[in-house]
Every structure is written in structure tokens, then in C-alpha cells.
Symmetry: C2
Subunit: 169 residues, 2 copies
């Protein structure tokens, strides 16, 4: 663990409570820049992003998830979509979107911001799509809640490297 | 672009030619550590990794892809699998694996190593699975070629942020 990159990767945690402080425009732009520079198969960049700052709209979004407190607490949510008009291989494109999201989480963390990657919310992606009036080609894959950390969760747990390594051949 | 994280995210490129220098064990362990600390839905960690260093095995692997030169040039390849016994939601799990891969690419880059995320190779994932004698629950999602950069490709191209942002509502 000898450089900032690895430290940030290691120390990033899901933040579920945020302060009232609103991140400035530049910080959010930096996060979107990070998302934009993720790799993708054939460089197809299958991602689209919707930045939600308006309190009423975020409140409306929060009704679609069991984690409504997180969405309400965060001053900003970024809705992450796959653009099915651009997608050429769903497996590869979903991995690319995961890479793009991870860039956002790491970039936010490196700026002192906290994030929570909300996955459960996509159980109701069709209703949210209607609520946000998204184009038909867009499919919601995640919502990222962003703000200044209002809690300080413990470091997470992971399986040991030994359990993750495939031996043989 | 004011910190190392964002610089690394912005400057990382796919490396397709590598020098003969073999990365040391610690560098590869650091990359696997980075992979291990990615976020996943319900923290299910659906990823497994196989590190290929043996020249003969890498040569054998290279036969399954149009990009055989890259696999042959890189002193190390990491095969990335989804563990379907652990997977609970394929969409979310593929995004988690994408996040884990991006952690590897960024960690490698921060150490001066180059990587190439090979996606096309999964067109023949069933044959490769047999070749590597992988357990039935494992499904190959990518191969990451790793080594010291032997070329210096131009910075890639991306759509403008404007094109990626969803407006409306």
C-alpha cells in the first residue's frame, strides 16, 4: 500500500449520511470527467448521466428505494444509465459502466467527498425512468449519492486474496 | 484535473506492446489487492482471478484471440471470472467486476505498469475455460494483459461531457 491510488482504493467506503454542505460545481464536473475517461469495449462509451440537485426531484426519486434516507441525505444524486442505442454487447457494456462508476467513486473520495453506489434502486428502474422522463433508449443501472461525509463507517470486509485466486492448470 | 487520482484516470491508456521486464511479485499483489477492494452489491464480491505467468500457458491462451500479439507480448495475464455460484444479479455483478477491473488498471498505471483490457477474447470463453480447466461455476469475463509499457500510445478520444449528460425533467 505504497501510493495514493492504492490508499484511496483501499480506504473508500460507502457513505450513507451526508452533511448539508453542497459540493461545488467544479467537484461534480471533476467526477463526471472521471466517469467519461473510463475504458469501454471498442471505446463505445455506453454511459449517460443525469445529475439531480433539485431537492424536490431527489425527494421524488427517493420514493423508489428502501434506501430513501440516503438519497434524501445526499445533496446530489447522479443517475447512471446504459444507452441501449450505443450498447453492442451487454456483458462488456455493463463492465464498462462499472468501471465508469468506480472512477466516479474514486475521484469523489480523492476530493474528500463521500458516495454511495445504490443498486437496489434499479429494481424499480422502469418507474424511475418514467418519473425522470428518460428517453426510451436509456436504462437506469445505478444511482450514485454524493455529498460530504456525515458519518465515518468502519472499513469494510473482503474475502482474502487466497480465496479469490484460481489455481490449477 | 488537480490531483493524482484524476491525472491517473485521465492519462491511463491501453498498452498493446510490452517490454521483456517482468513485474515483480509485489506489484502484481498490489494490483490484486486493488481488485479485491472494489465495491459490489450486498458486498458479494463475485470475482475470481487467475494469474498466468508461464510462457507456454500464455502462448496457449493467445490462440483464442485476434489480439494474440498483445497476450504474447505481456509477461503476465490475469483472467477475470464471475463466480456464478456467488452471483445474485447478473447486471449488478458485471458492473462490480468492471469496478474491480478498473481498480486493477488504475493501480497498475500508478505503479508505472501498462495494461490492456481484452474483451474480444471472451467470444471464446467456453474453449478457454476448458483450456484452463476452470471450475464449472466460473465464467470468463475479461483478460487483463500486464507488463511494462513498450509503446506510448496517444491519449484516447471520448465524447464531450455535454453529449453524456441527460437533461430534462
Amino acid at each position: 500500500m505504497n501510493n495514493d491510488m492504492v490508499k484511496t482504493i483501499r480506504q473508500r467506503r460507502s457513505i450513507r449520511v451526508f452533511t448539508a454542505q453542497i459540493p461545488d460545481k467544479e467537484a461534480i464536473e471533476e467526477i463526471l470527467e472521471a466517469a467519461r475517461w473510463a475504458p469501454s469495449g471498442l471505446n463505445n462509451q455506453p454511459w449517460k448521466f443525469m445529475v439531480l440537485e433539485d431537492e424536490k426531484i431527489r425527494e421524488g426519486l427517493s420514493r423508489f428505494t428502501a434506501y430513501k434516507k440516503i438519497v434524501r441525505s445526499a445533496p446530489i444524486s447522479i443517475v447512471v444509465c446504459i444507452d441501449n442505442d450505443i450498447s453492442y454487447n451487454r456483458d462488456k457494456d455493463l463492465m464498462a459502466i462499472g468501471a465508469s462508476i468506480q472512477n466516479m467513486l474514486l475521484c469523489a473520495c480523492s476530493q474528500g467527498l463521500g458516495t454511495c453506489w445504490l443498486g437496489e434502486i434499479i429494481n424499480r428502474k422502469e418507474e424511475i425512468k418514467q418519473y425522470l422522463k428518460l428517453e426510451s433508449c436509456l436504462e437506469i443501472m445505478a444511482v450514485i449519492a454524493i455529498g460530504y461525509p456525515g458519518d465515518n463507517p468502519e472499513v469494510g470486509e473482503r474475502r482474502s486474496l487466497q480465496e479469490l485466486l484460481i489455481t490449477g492448470k
